[in-house]
């Protein structure tokens, strides 16, 4: 509402819901942080904290797809829940299309929920088993004030949009659908409030590969039709490459690398990103992996390693990595084409022996 576009927009069509102008990012996340307390003892004191999301900043432009990758336990899903306000953040700000979220002057929470919707991984447990899917889809609009008739008509239209015949499926219950069909229902439900940003948390991970391709195509179509912005969280690096414009790599609650998808995949800067990419399975039986590129599990986020959090598993570890945490740079001031990595090896003068020469050598 306050900022106007200075340059021609990256998005195609003019959207009446647009408030901040086309150059204003859809969502800005500024220094968001969430520590979960671990309580113990008779007094139930906090004895430690799980640093699930630790000072993360990024933005998502209008109409783009931001992929978020990382191992289990790196905080991807907590981050998604923080963005949705399903858990409260400890610190940091969310700016939705130019307006602060959840503060006195900004967008109220129900406004956020209308603009931001989420699709979860487990397509079955995220649907109410006792509601026919038509009612599951119509539920959100009803809560937001639509009449039952309008909401139902809308639900049927949405079912057609996600490729389910309304007259066949409307009255079915979730257990009568296959995994791919259930995930289509979840997508339809997320679209029911006409959101602008969809958070897809491992939305295709539980599907068969052939169904996964159908759902990915559907997501691409919907994005164009409805002028959507996606945050796509997944641990499947092939899928993230296919669907994303930019990629954010997370490790133990922090961003270790962010940049345009092709730069991340063709020229990864951070050793963690390099290792993750090496974990992709080749389809050629001649190219078998003999040793796992990443050994062990990520360290415990209760007590993350000092300095660079990846140093315990990093093949290029030096003293400076244990002593000092490498910075990522100012993500919010960087442009969408910038490729940033939180590693001493890419920062000139950091004290790492490989530092002056970028790894791309």
């Amino acid at each position: 509402m306050t900022q106007m576009a200075l340059s021609p927009p990256p998005v195609a069509a003019e959207d009446p819901r647009d408030r901040g102008g086309p150059a204003q990012p859809m969502l800005i996340v500024d220094g968001i942080r969430k520590y979960f307390p671990i309580r113990a003892g008779v007094l139930n004191r906090t004895v430690a904290e799980v640093k699930a999301v630790d000072d993360i900043s990024f933005y998502v432009l209008k109409g783009e797809t931001l992929g978020i990758v990382g191992e289990s336990g790196c905080g991807k899903s907590t981050l998604a829940r923080l963005l949705m306000h399903l858990v409260d953040r400890d610190e940091g700000h969310l700016i939705l299309d130019g307006d602060l979220v959840g503060e006195e002057t900004g967008v109220p929470l129900d406004g956020l929920r209308r603009a931001l919707q989420m699709v979860f991984q487990d397509s079955y447990s995220s649907l109410n088993p006792r509601l026919p899917i038509e009612q599951s889809i119509a539920y959100g609009p009803k809560v937001q004030g639509a009449s039952s008739k309008v909401a139902k008509a809308q639900a049927r239209a949405l079912m057609e949009k996600v490729g389910l015949k309304a007259n066949l499926f409307a009255q079915r219950y979730p257990h009568e659908l296959s995994g791919g069909q259930k995930q289509r229902v979840n997508i339809a439900r997320a679209l029911a409030l006409d959101p602008r940003l969809l958070i897809l948390d491992e939305a295709v991970s539980a599907l068969d590969k052939s169904v996964e391709a159908q759902v990915l195509n559907l997501l691409e179509d919907l994005k164009k039709q409805l002028n959507l912005t996606y945050i796509f969280i997944s641990h499947d690096l092939h899928v993230v490459r296919y669907i994303s414009d930019r990629v954010l790599v997370m490790y133990l609650g922090q961003v270790v690398e962010i940049g345009p998808v092709d730069q991340i995949y063709e020229d990864p800067q951070h050793p963690y990103t390099q290792a993750l990419l090496a974990c992709r399975l080749s389809m050629d039986p001649e190219e078998r992996v003999e040793a796992a590129p990443l050994a062990g599990d990520p360290p415990n986020p209760v007590n993350p390693p000092s300095g660079c959090r990846f140093h315990t598993r990093c093949p290029f570890m030096e003293d400076v990595c244990m002593a000092k945490a490498p910075g990522l740079g100012d993500v919010l001031r960087s442009s969408a084409d910038d490729h940033l990595a939180a590693c001493h090896m890419v920062h000139p003068g950091s004290g790492h022996s490989r530092a002056p020469l970028p790894v791309r050598a």
């Binding site: 391709a213 499947d236 899928v239 296919y242 399975l281 599990d297």
Partner: protein
């Protein structure tokens, strides 16, 4: 039990003496409402020390087929026909007592979800020790010592501590390793693995695959590995069987099946797998969904989704075409060209995926029905 010599079960397979020999296996689940024909005539042989990957979508019957090898289905509602020979035992006919001896010792299984397969109320050590004591009659001390060895074998860090851990205290990767340790505790000759890496992260998946392959080689186990991920098959398989609607529709060495797929379904599966495609081009998804196993149509079961379908496909299921390297496909479009299989789909309109006109109406009707 471990170093038994396998009798030559079938004279028609001169390449190797099969350790596992499944012939015309059919499994139906009978209930009041319907009969589900989950497996419809599966035949394969597996040599000692060989890894067979069974690939297919959910509902293709791959897990049902594998569970039949341990007779894990509810007795009352399941009809199993055909023969399953593992070593000297005919699994279809052995008594329950013999079967319970085989389970966990000669034949062992790893499940997809370790959290539900392990008992939450017992420690990892208890669960490994229980298997060893039950099958090999070891004492408590000896069994625990063996459990420790096994955790070291599957490369669990600080194994002494993990023996006393409960399943919920371990990460997904460690839990899956613990389950592998349970499965290997009695040195099985045949290991069945039902999507053991599907629930794991890519980084852990590859660790588990490398581990399984190493153990399989060291212990000279035969392995049947069910997965829907072709990348996993490429990593671990010697032989690949592609299942659709309860039948093996393509079979061959991993190189043949993945690099020279013949059946349209295998081709479509490979094409639909996301792997460094151009981002602007939509994925070549396979339209429709797998057939309803309660009412399988006559003819080729892939017909409603096939881009190369022709009227003859609706008449009967195509028979097997096998080439010199034992690459097999069941499709009317596949023939022999010299010593190799050759797919004869070149007469199709450009683009290949277009529907042949005379079939379009029927296909649409069938798709509507299956949806």
């Amino acid at each position: 039990m471990n170093d038994m010599t396998t009798p030559n079960l079938s004279g028609s397979q001169p390449l190797a003496t099969p350790f596992v020999s499944v012939k015309d296996l059919r499994v139906r689940f009978v209930s009041r409402e319907a009969t589900v024909r989950a497996v419809n005539g599966v035949t394969f042989d597996l040599a000692r020390g060989e890894v067979l990957c069974v690939i297919g979508e959910s509902g293709s019957g791959k897990s049902v087929m594998m569970r039949s090898l341990l007779r894990l289905h509810p007795k009352k509602r399941t009809v199993i026909e055909g023969s399953m020979q593992v070593g000297e035992h005919d699994i279809g006919t052995v008594s329950d007592r013999v079967l319970s001896k085989l389970r966990g010792s000669t034949i062992s299984m790893i499940f997809q979800e370790p959290m539900t397969a392990l008992d939450p109320l017992y420690t990892i050590g208890d669960q490994i020790a229980e298997t060893v004591r039950r099958h090999e009659g070891l004492g408590r001390e000896a069994a625990w010592a063996r459990a420790l060895e096994l955790l070291e074998l599957v490369r669990v860090p600080s194994p002494e501590r993990r023996l006393k851990a409960y399943p919920h205290e371990l990460s997904g990767g460690l839990r899956q390793r613990a389950m592998i340790a349970v499965a290997l505790s009695c040195r099985p000759s045949l290991l069945l693995a039902d999507e053991p890496t599907t629930a794991l992260d890519a980084s852990v998946q590859i660790q588990v695959l490398v581990l399984l392959r190493r153990l399989q080689r060291e212990m000279d186990m035969s392995m049947i590995f069910v997965t829907h991920d072709l990348g996993v098959a490429a990593q671990i398989a010697d032989k690949v069987a592609v299942m659709y609607a309860g039948r093996i529709i393509e079979y061959g060495s991993v190189g043949d099946v993945l690099n020279r797929p013949q059946h349209p379904y295998t081709q479509a599966m490979l094409a639909s797998t996301v792997k460094d495609q151009e981002r602007v081009v939509p994925l070549e998804a396979i339209a429709g969904s797998p057939p309803d196993l309660r009412a399988l149509p006559e003819g080729c079961s892939f017909l409603p989704r096939c881009a190369y379908a022709e009227p003859e496909c609706a008449v009967a299921m195509p028979s097997e075409t096998v080439d010199a390297s034992r690459h097999m496909a069941r499709c009317y479009r596949v023939g022999l060209e010299g010593k190799r299989l050759a797919f004869n789909g070149s007469a199709l309109p450009p683009g290949g995926r277009a529907t042949p006109a005379p079939m379009a109406a029927e296909r649409a009707e069938m798709l509507g029905r299956s949806a």
